[in-house]
């Protein structure tokens, strides 16, 4: 309950005495998303530690996100951490920032493009790689037919996850789009899909809340399918512990946020650059029954 949460809420380490600086983080987070919430917590923790004023903004639309980067440039920030989920749409503006002397790091999305826009570092997990490892794992588990649940249509990262999965998975992969903002419809749609194709034996939801809803759909449809997921949230930990969800692919969003801010701080105060010109992977990391205990404590306070 409440108490447990409170006790776990102090992630803060000591505070740096470097001059106050302002760092903007611009992401493609849709409103109210669990995953991004954890990214932000990591960024905030680093900011608190590094005496950084963090200005967070987000918009799922590529061109609007570019405008947000422009806002940051106009605001004369000391560094920008940005996601490149729409690399082409963002490139111009981000280049303007890096070319104009504002250090830029890329997180989460843009593994193939971060160097092109003049960014210093990349922290994240390759989405298709994550998908591929999930696909491999499913193959070894002997799954025959996987249903990939995408909670947003037209999203690059979700498509990459699903695409990677399909690539390495030995069996058949199907996908279904659901309306992420409407849980009852998510539940019914997955159930409908399971009924439509009774051979489906795995449901892989690409977001934690949807995996939990998928459990209900499986029950509704009377399907034997097992559920696995991408990303974590507190409820997911419990589900993995209970064994209702087989495993979850974690890309450690906290790490992405934390490193992005912290590395900018390091660059500004000490000239450090991480990764040696290579992307710094933060995942994929499988959370399953074996290692869930280690994560549980942190997940319940919402930082895993």
């Amino acid at each position: 309950g409440k108490k447990a949460q409170e006790s776990a809420n102090d992630t803060g380490a000591g505070k740096a005495n470097t001059p106050r600086m302002k760092i903007a983080m611009v992401t493609h987070q849709p409103p109210g998303d669990t995953f991004w919430d954890i990214v932000r917590k990591g960024a905030e923790a680093a900011a608190a530690k590094d005496n950084v004023q963090l200005v967070y903004s987000n918009d799922p639309d590529g061109d609007k996100q570019a405008t947000l980067v422009q806002n940051a440039i106009d605001s004369k920030v000391d560094g920008i951490a940005v996601t490149l989920s729409h690399p082409d749409a963002m490139a111009g503006t981000v280049k303007k920032a890096s070319g104009g002397g504002i250090p830029v790091v890329v997180l989460n999305a843009g593994m193939d493009d971060w160097q092109k826009v003049g960014a210093l570092e990349f922290f994240g997990s390759d989405e298709s790689l994550a998908g591929e490892s999930a696909g491999k794992r499913l193959s070894t588990e002997g799954a025959k037919h996987v249903l990939c649940v995408l909670h947003e249509q037209g999203s690059v990262s979700l498509e990459a996850r699903c695409g990677g999965l399909a690539k390495t998975f030995s069996g058949k992969t199907d996908k279904v789009y659901v309306q992420g903002t409407n849980m009852p419809s998510v539940r019914s749609t997955i159930a409908a899909k399971l009924k439509q194709d009774k051979s489906i034996d795995r449901v892989v939801a690409l977001g934690a809340p949807f995996a939990l809803t998928a459990l209900q759909s499986v029950k509704d449809a009377g399907s034997p399918a097992k559920v696995a997921a991408f990303d974590m949230n507190p409820a997911m930990v419990k589900a993995v512990q209970d064994g209702t969800v087989e495993w979850a692919v974690d890309q450690q969003p906290y790490l992405q946020g934390y490193l992005a801010v912290d590395s900018l701080w390091l660059y500004k105060t000490n000239g450090n650059v991480l990764g040696g010109g290579q992307a710094t992977p933060t995942g994929p990391y499988f959370v399953d029954k074996n290692n869930v205990a280690a994560v549980a404590q942190y997940a319940s306070r919402g930082t895993r």
């Binding site: 109210g32 409407n182 749609t189 409908a192 449809a221 009377g222 949230n233 919402g302």
Partner: protein
Amino acid sequence: MSQAVDAAAPPSAPDERLTRRSPLARLLARPEAGSLAGAVVIYVFFFAVAPPFRGLDALATILYASSTIGIPAVAVALLMIGGEFDLSAGVAVTSSALVASMLSFQLTLNLWAGIAVGLLLALGVGALNGYLVMKTGIPSFLVTLATFLMLQGLNLAITKVITGNVASPDISDMDGFGAAQKVFAAEWRIGGLSLRISVVWWLLFTALATWVLLRTRVGNWIFAVGGAESSARAVGVPVRRVKIGLFMAVGFLAWFTGMNLLFSFTTVQSGEGVGNEFLYIIAAVIGGCLLTGGYGSAIGTATGAFIFGMTTQGIVYAGWNADWFKFFLGAMLLGATLLNLWVRRRTEASR
């Protein structure tokens, strides 16, 4: 035609100025008939093309999905008949669920206390919307757009502040959960079939709204304020009270849907509900409600929600390529609407 002023009731002989119409034609001329026809055709269509669609369990799933749109759509339709919009209905659902769960959780109260506070909040938001619209004369589209944005912001921000997370805590182990779940989200499994109480509620609310619209004074007033506001005022309809009441009705059913959500899923994502307000409006419009007010029906709206729910699920049951989902959805909605129109034209022309 030369009777005295206090003449008896007029003659009831058939009027030579009318052509006759068969009872079937009369039935089909009802405003709901067209959308019902649309629903039937879509049902038959999917029945034919999608074997998994044929089972009763599929019907149960579809009905459930439709009911979560259909319940708030009832009130949204009444409001639309009354000539106003409510864009905040979708997030108000989430707001009331969040309030109910977080309040009970934080203060470790019985859930019913949270439920009651959630209701008060939803009614309050409705009343505020109505009050602002009536008091200032700003179009309800703008007023409720502002409420929509503000509620959406509050949902996120307050949930974040209180739980440190973007979802409400799990309440399934709290006092009052069992009873509340029975009321708002009971689910009976009969054989392989899962029947859900929200479907029952949906039918009840639709029946109630139909009764109110057609058989009560308030229903008369709703049509009147939507059809010609100043005329309604001129003949003594309390326009302001009716409209504020309608906004509050939307609040009420939003709250109800929120409770269904909460007790079905035990936790609520704070970003949920955005965009659903349009599903409600779409259901009402497919069901024949006029966006400009003054015309529509609750049964039609229920049919609209059913058509929408059936189409969304049916495409999945049919196993069509998921990439084309939206295209099929659009095409089928257009088809249903055209059919609706065609039925009505036919019956109007038929003598």
